[in-house]
């Protein structure tokens, strides 16, 4: 079984539109949306949920006001400035609480409770392109690498069960915890970039991250015709660093038109774009 992740470093370069199209083009895969923070793939795939489960991760501190003697130990020891003193009361601000348990352990009155944190839901769904594993964190919840790891584990189990040979993952922007969690043990990272200073800068950082984990990198330049000079810079960078260039996609609002129709771009008939995306996918398939 092979695992492929589509990432970008910079947000908004076209990861999800392309992942959706790849899901259409490959018949033998499980689809997995690993952007658990702001997932969008479901907008194109209209999944029907088969299984929904709670994602519970870590704990959060809550001060029992009946027991609290206002000694202030918790606020002094909290390194996240999560405990404030308002109206003669010590209160934990949930958005700042890291769930480290320091206040719970050091409170002399044992006045800090530590309930589990219900952070979001995860789903197994059916789509017109096959089974999809996805999730949605609650707004403001911890963007957990743990949820990404859990989804990948579920996707692998599903692939085994259905006898699929590929897990196609849509990743998150950035280079932090969710992206790191989505890279471990992946066979290929497809980085979608754009010919802008931000696109190249962020490609370099995310490709360096992939190299750090010894993961092979393939690059798609989206909107390549927006700036030929920047596109050449990206191509040079890829050649120097032995990253495969698998496609140049032109700037075209057909992606948005497809999105408005809740379709992937390869479902739009009689378009050159469908052909170009198909050729790109064939090159990626050869690398797997």
């Amino acid at each position: 079984m092979r695992e492929l992740i589509v990432i970008s470093g910079k947000g908004g370069t076209g990861k999800t539109s392309l992942t959706g199209a790849f899901a259409h083009l490959d018949r033998e895969k499980i689809i997995c949306d690993l952007d658990v923070d702001a997932p969008d793939l479901h907008i194109l795939l209209s999944p029907k949920v088969i299984l929904q489960e709670k994602f519970i991760s870590g704990n959060e501190a809550v001060i029992d006001q009946d027991k609290c003697q206002s000694c202030g130990t918790c606020a002094e020891m909290c390194r996240y400035d999560a405990i404030s003193f308002k109206d003669d009361k010590y209160l934990v601000e949930p958005l700042r609480c890291e769930g480290c348990k320091v206040c719970v352990s050091f409170c002399p009155e044992e006045a800090v409770e530590f309930p589990p944190r219900y952070c979001g839901n995860w789903y197994v769904s059916s789509t017109r392109f096959g089974t999809m594993v996805h999730a949605q964190l609650f707004p403001g919840a911890e963007n957990s690498g743990r949820l990404v790891a859990l989804l990948r584990q579920k996707a692998r189990a599903k692939a085994k069960e259905e006898g699929r040979n590929l897990i196609l993952c849509d990743g998150a922007p950035g280079i932090g915890c969710p992206v790191i969690s989505s890279l471990s043990g992946t066979d290929l990272a497809v980085v979608v970039t754009e010919p802008t200073p931000s696109g190249l800068h962020d490609l370099m950082r995310v490709a360096e991250l992939c190299s750090h984990f010894k993961i092979r990198v393939a690059v798609i330049v989206n909107k390549f015709d927006l700036n030929q000079e920047q596109t050449s810079k990206i191509q040079d960078y890829c050649r120097k660093n032995s990253h495969e260039l698998v496609g140049n996609i032109p700037h075209d609002d057909i992606f948005t038109r497809a999105m408005v129709e809740k379709k992937v771009v390869t479902e739009i008939r009689d378009s050159n774009m469908a052909l170009m995306v198909k050729q790109t996918w064939e090159k990626i398939s050869d690398l797997l």
Partner: protein, 297 residues
């Protein structure tokens, strides 16, 4: 964050979805801002604001997180530290206490709880903080996460502390370029600002993530306003939503290949035409107006 701070305005530019134009709006606002302004890049995973403001960097420092170091000669393997640690960063394996520094969140609990004083503070590099100025009038501050480092909020917190120190001295306003998303890094970026500008594009993805951002940030009770980028693309959902929730749309940047091309050359969009400059000056004036109302409230 600092109750004494009254005269400065802190505006964060956030979005939910990536690539909607946060950096475009942040750079443009910084360039047309009438008062002294500090431009802060808190998208530490992929900071891009410097690519448009081209600041001269006058100061750089490495930022560290405090992590534990074990003195084996003092450790009695009592496990109080490993029982406390919620992040699997310190564990007894056989007859040894091991630390997994990259898992550590820097809470300091193990150091405080050890009865034998067998743990001392060590450090893990989080990234680099850079300070400088651009065009002689914009103060500049950014955090850049070390590639391979998983946690961005600890570095963001330190950059925010530096921002407050600078604002305390310079009496400038601050414009924060926030990371995409709606979970902990994005919340961390906007939580200390006075108002939040949500930049979105009127596409289904843009709208979906915009709504998540609105839900996520609403709980903080801060005023929010909207800038629509690539207006003319997509559909009308975002307009209907703003109308329904009484979210003011303060500016609208048209969908225009010329703007995309200028961005691709690292140009600041507010500098492209008198119309665009006007649009951002109006936006800046509107935001600065909010400052006065707040100060007199």
């Amino acid at each position: 964050m600092d109750p004494k701070r009254k005269s400065n305005l802190i505006v964060s530019i956030a979005s939910g979805k990536g690539g909607t134009g946060k950096t475009t709006v942040s750079a443009s606002l910084a360039c047309v801002w009438k008062k002294p302004v500090l431009a802060v890049d808190l998208d530490v995973e992929e900071p891009n604001l410097h690519l448009f403001l081209n600041p001269e960097i006058s100061h750089q420092e490495k930022i560290y997180l405090e992590t534990p170091v074990v003195d084996e000669s003092k450790c009695t393997l009592c496990r109080m530290c490993s029982d406390l640690c919620q992040f699997q960063a310190i564990k007894v394996m056989g007859e040894t206490l091991l630390t997994f520094t990259e898992m550590c969140h820097g809470c300091g609990g193990c150091l405080a709880i050890c009865p034998e004083k067998a743990l001392s503070p060590g450090q893990r590099e989080l990234g680099i903080l850079s300070q400088g100025s651009s065009l002689g009038k914009i103060s500049f501050l950014m955090g850049s996460l070390r590639v391979g480092e998983a946690m961005s909020p600890p570095l963001m917190t330190i950059v925010k502390k530096r921002m407050m120190e600078i604002l305390g001295k310079e009496r400038a306003d601050a414009i924060i370029d926030a990371p995409p998303g709606v979970s902990c890094p994005a919340v961390c970026a906007v939580m200390d600002s006075d108002l939040i500008i949500l930049v979105t594009e009127p596409t289904p993805f843009g709208f979906h993530d915009f709504r998540l951002a609105w839900e996520s940030f609403s709980s903080m009770g801060k005023p929010m306003a909207v800038v629509i980028n690539r207006a003319g693309l997509g559909d009308s959902s975002v307009y209907r939503f703003c109308d329904e929730k009484k979210l003011p749309i303060l500016a609208s940047i048209p969908y225009d290949r010329n703007i995309a091309q200028a961005y691709s050359k690292g140009q600041v969009v507010a500098r492209l035409s008198p119309e665009l400059e006007h649009k951002f000056s109006d936006l800046a004036r509107e935001l600065q107006g909010y400052d006065r109302e707040a100060a007199y409230a």
